[in-house]
Amino acid sequence: MGYNHYILVCGGTGCESGKGDEIYRNLISEAEKQGVKDKVQIVKTGCFGFCEKGPIVKVLPEDSFYTEVKPADAAEIIAEQIIKGREVTRLLYDKGAKKGKLAVEDIQFYQKQLRIVLRNCGVINPDNIDEYIARDGYAALEKVLFEMKPEDVISELKIAGLRGRGGAGFPTWLKWDISRKEKNEVKYVVCNADEGDPGAYMDRSTVEGDPHSIIEAMIICGRVIGAPYGYVYIRAEYPLAIERLRVALQQARDYGLLGKNILNSGFDFDVEIRLGAGAFVCGEETALLQSLEGKRGMPVPKPPFPAIQGLWGKPTVINNVETLANIPVILTKGSAWFASIGTETSKGTKVFALTGKVNNSGLVEVPMGTTLREIIFDIGGGIKGGKKFKGAQTGGPSGGILPESVLDTPIDYESLTRLGSMMGSGGLIVMDEDDCVVDVSRFYMEFCVDESCGKCAPCRIGTHQIHSILDKIAHGNGEMADLDKLHDIGKAMTKASLCMLGGSAANPSISTIKNFREEYIEHIVDKKCRAGKCKHLVRFEIDTEKCIGCGICARKCPVPCIAGEKRQPHVIDQLKCIKCGECFKACKFGAVLKK
């Protein structure tokens, strides 16, 4: 037995609401009616990530991708494609494209994702160097060792326009070139894998899924700047990534791709792993280098920049995992190809860890210039439970929260900065109407209070002051003057802090005051939290008209503070209530009111 065709019908929430289920049933009954029940299997699938053009139907093995399909189209799909073997052209998404030629260069790819950094993640076995090599692994290294001069590599990177993916977006070629020109026998290459933003896991997944791409890029960097040694600074909380990296390093050494006289080129390079103890500030390059030297992880003033005077005072190129993972592909596929992807100022792709109140959370890689709306609503499949979108948080504790009105801005380094946020490392947390901006800002500030190293006053004192003002507002004791105070303290921190931890710590608060000012005013003037997150501003009451006295709220109450006879309206004891909201969630009759 066996089928000739397979029809996949999207069963994601978006397509389901667009009559996906009816299409599915129609296809089955049509297949039966037209007598091809044994030739084709019809299955429902998870979300295809293109909800905007749903419902989606895909036919295999032709890979025909049909969009905006209607239940009435089922008969035609069966009659034309399954019986006569002709695609239903009018339903095809990309009507012009030739079959089987959904090319890489075609960024208009329906799924909107393009995997450069994550090219091997989820494809190869990370513990097997042969699989990496089979996918053009170490081919860039060959080029760099035997065909290209260091200057050629630099100019390739310059044309490609690759910028640092750790957050600030400094041109990678320039960093390398500065170190290369330094006259020093000892130089270092450092890979920053100290990913500390809450909710971000791009670098972890890259190291776990494709460790050799990082190793290859580090060897290339070593060759270009003339460094014989490299370090990967990775957090100890990533045991699997560390293990995979260890295995990969050993395999590379066994193959002679690391160590003395690599591939008989006369070039020596080796890499060592250093574990970080999980301090957020150690993601800042100067603090990271201090930590690598065995000192307490605290930033030092720049200049001198690490590229000139870094680890143990030697010229050091320090690049983030994602930046490095781009380099081998740029050199094998060419800088012109890379430069053709992205926007005017930001080239290539960016990986985001999409999390929060979104249906399809996951690791997403999109060309620069993709809009937040595409990421959240197409790739992410929209907001969980059909709730209303409130904001998108980019860049973790250093970024801002962006409102609905800017969702259509193409994202790159400049546009995000302009909007008062930043690219950051790539955390992207989606918030819905149940999230409170004051509460979220307070959460991030609390994180910064904990993680501030305390070396400089603006950050040490500023984070604490902002946190206590936010706390005051959340407790219902805020004054209007607090908003200006938050703004002023934030601006002072941005200007005067030693490193970017303090320099960007106020971003979540400043951006929310700007973008969601009315919610702050509600907290301060009306003493209300519309999301119900600020417990001191919420009150749960039972509507005696609606309550039927089923008692489920009293059973769910953890205190307990709800009393009442069976079949009689219940009452909440406000003095005892801890405002957990369990009664509100439990009531099936809408009798518990959140005020």
């Binding site: 037995m1 066996g2 397979y6 996949l8 069963g11 299955v43 699938t45 998870g46 979300c47 295999l60 093995p61 890489v104 790819f109 799924q111 994702q113 393009l114 995997r115 450069i116 994550l118 090219r119 091997n120 993640c121 989820g122 494809v123 076995n125 990370p126 042969d130 699989e131 090599i133 089979a134 996918r135 053009d136 692994g137 170490y138 081919a139 060959e142 035997f146 972890r204 997944s205 776990e208 899924g209 494709d210 990533y238 699997l240 066994d254 193959y255 002679g256 791709l257 591939l263 008989n264 592909v329 596929k333 249906n359 399809n360 959370s361 996951g362 690791l363 997403v364 890689e365 790739i379």
Partner: protein
């Protein structure tokens, strides 16, 4: 393997490339690839892997099916994810593969040559290196 020269590396790459292609097209072997990133493991990918090995043992398919592992493919909401390659059938990715689904995959997909309903996910993006 001993340290390689440039020629040996190139030879190895070409050799492995053909091998990978072979596995894909004329394929005698069935492959099951389990996503073993932190997200997958947190969602129970280790149990999934064990369940595959046990189920293949039970059905005496151990010699016909190659079970491999890989990293995160980006569908973290649907972990554990498993890619199934059966010659003559389209390659599909299954999401939320727990022990019960493993049994279904082995019985229906590997033996019965049918796709499973409600578990298929799409690969999230074009693969740029293969082409």
């Amino acid at each position: 393997m001993a340290k390689m020269t440039l020629e040996e590396l190139r030879k190895l790459r070409d050799g492995k490339k053909t091998e990978l292609r072979k596995r894909d097209s004329d394929g005698k072997s069935i492959q099951v690839i389990v996503g073993m990133g932190t997200c997958g493991i947190a969602a129970g990918a280790k149990n999934t892997l064990d369940a595959f090995i046990a189920a293949l043992d039970e059905k005496k398919l151990v010699n016909d099916v190659l079970v491999r592992q890989t990293g995160c493919m980006g569908l973290c909401y649907a972990e554990p994810t498993v890619e199934v390659l059966v010659p003559g059938m389209p390659t599909v990715i299954y999401g939320k593969v727990d022990v019960a689904v493993v049994k279904e995959i082995v019985e229906k997909h590997l033996i019965g040559r049918q796709l499973l309903d409600n578990h298929i996910q799409d690969r999230p993006a074009a693969d740029i290196v293969a082409k």
